[in-house]
Symmetry: C2
Subunit: 247 residues, 2 copies
DNA sequence: GCCGATTTGTGAATCCGGTTCAAAAATCGG
DNA sequence: CCGATTTTTGAACCGGATTCACAAATCGGC
């Protein structure tokens, strides 16, 4: 019985290794040639397996894309774990979360595009349920970080006590602001058409307006560019010191 | 020469009518069967033309989708035109813009999905330049409405004078917030996973936080649910009275 | 170690739908 | 009315995701 079990174990490990290989190579392909550059048969050949073998791991191309996204989301989520422990005020830590996300997106443009494509109804419909759940699960540490910071802010009195709004729902504001700005900034030619430049600077200012509007102390006027810039620099320095956001 | 010219005119009109027919039918198809239900040869057959004829109007499937989106965007943009003239304070008019957008998206879920899919890098790359420009152009009245309201708010002193921020850049905040919330609300299962409900109620509250953070008068505390609800109702009533937002 | 049963891997064939293009039809100018 | 030009046609083409009949590998009992 024991040898059978260890055999079974080995085979499962090998299977997992093969899946990891597929995901890794797929990601490379996407990074180098874009989403269109990823072809199922080419990828299988790259990894020295038959096309059919690839389909034993992923139900469809979309399923594979979701797996790639989940892997990178785990990496991204890792960056947020240490933020609640940073030696900064709660409001600055909230800014740290936003900055970390901006930086990750800037360093991984292909990841941003991939997730944007994935959540498209047409594509999402072809992702298997377990992969969907894995992708959602991968992002959990991010919402946990947000939750922790909001909860602490309330405890400390930096943020007025909740009135019909949970920690998650409070975090929803900056989250939506972030997602929306990424989306607008990435739509080729859109902001240019309205003569809007440096969208991420504006994101930060609007973030401060939002936080100040919720009376998150210490209030910071979004309309004081110099103050906003100084705070951004200060928080970025703290992130760097904590080793968060390194390539 | 004259008959030739009128012939030419007629042919151009016929061509435009045909194009409108294609776009109209394509939109119906999408509404009924989703984006995947739209097939070029089927659509051509539906309209009683050959596939090749369809390709004389649209360079690709994506190009056709962009044309559909532009048409609906024009309809959507039309709703915003009258908002700057509404008998409401500037801040309430800004809210009117947000509410109008929420309502349009709620009434046209397929339109939201279509644009989300279109601005995806992979898809956008296959849209011809004129169609891209037409789509961007179609949204112009919206940004004009925003510009007008922000500019008037500054003139009247409802909003402090600009400091390194244009009217468009001020409008970018609520715009991003809107886009981001739509995006999150539409990602199947995402907000549920974090136990967040009624995302549009939160969008409105965060909108008020944002405006209050920029010191847009009369300031309204996002943390007063009853006040927020009353203001929403009041503005919705004004919109209804002006005939904006009817199906 | 050997053998039939079962599981896993293979890659050529299938399928699908977007796109093309040679031929047919319509229109034009004289 | 006629040849030249433009427009329309839809069957053929093509690329790439997916399948599946077959082959190879592994297994469990002897």
């Amino acid at each position: 019985m024991l040898p059978a079990m260890s055999t079974e174990d080995r085979r499962r490990r090998e299977r997992e290794a093969r899946e990891a290989l597929f995901i890794e190579r797929a990601h490379e392909r996407i990074r180098e040639d874009g989403l269109l550059g990823l072809q199922m048969s080419k990828l299988a050949a790259d990894c020295e397996y038959a096309t059919g073998t690839l389909y034993q791991h992923f139900e469809s191309r979309e399923d594979l894309l979701a797996a790639v996204a989940a892997r990178t989301t785990r990496e991204r989520a890792g960056r947020f774990r240490a933020i609640p422990e940073l030696a900064l005020g709660t409001r600055s830590r909230m800014l740290a979360i936003v900055l970390t996300d901006i930086d990750f997106a800037a360093q991984n443009p292909d990841y941003y595009r991939l997730t944007q494509y994935l959540v498209t109804e047409v594509v999402w419909a072809n992702v298997s349920v377990p992969r969907r759940e894995a992708l959602l699960e991968a992002g959990r540490p991010i919402s946990e970080a947000v939750h922790a910071v909001v909860a602490e802010a309330r405890e400390r009195g930096d943020l007025p006590p909740a009135r019909e709004i949970s920690e998650e729902e409070m975090g929803l504001g900056p989250w939506a602001l972030n997602v929306g700005m990424q989306s607008l900034a990435n739509a080729q030619g859109l902001l240019d058409a309205y003569d809007i430049h440096r969208p991420y600077d504006h994101l930060i200012r609007h973030f401060h307006a939002l936080m100040t509007g919720w009376r998150w102390e210490p209030r910071l006027d979004p309309d004081e560019p110099a103050v906003v810039r100084a705070e951004t620099d200060r928080v970025r320095a703290a992130l760097r010191a904590a080793g968060i956001g390194e390539q």
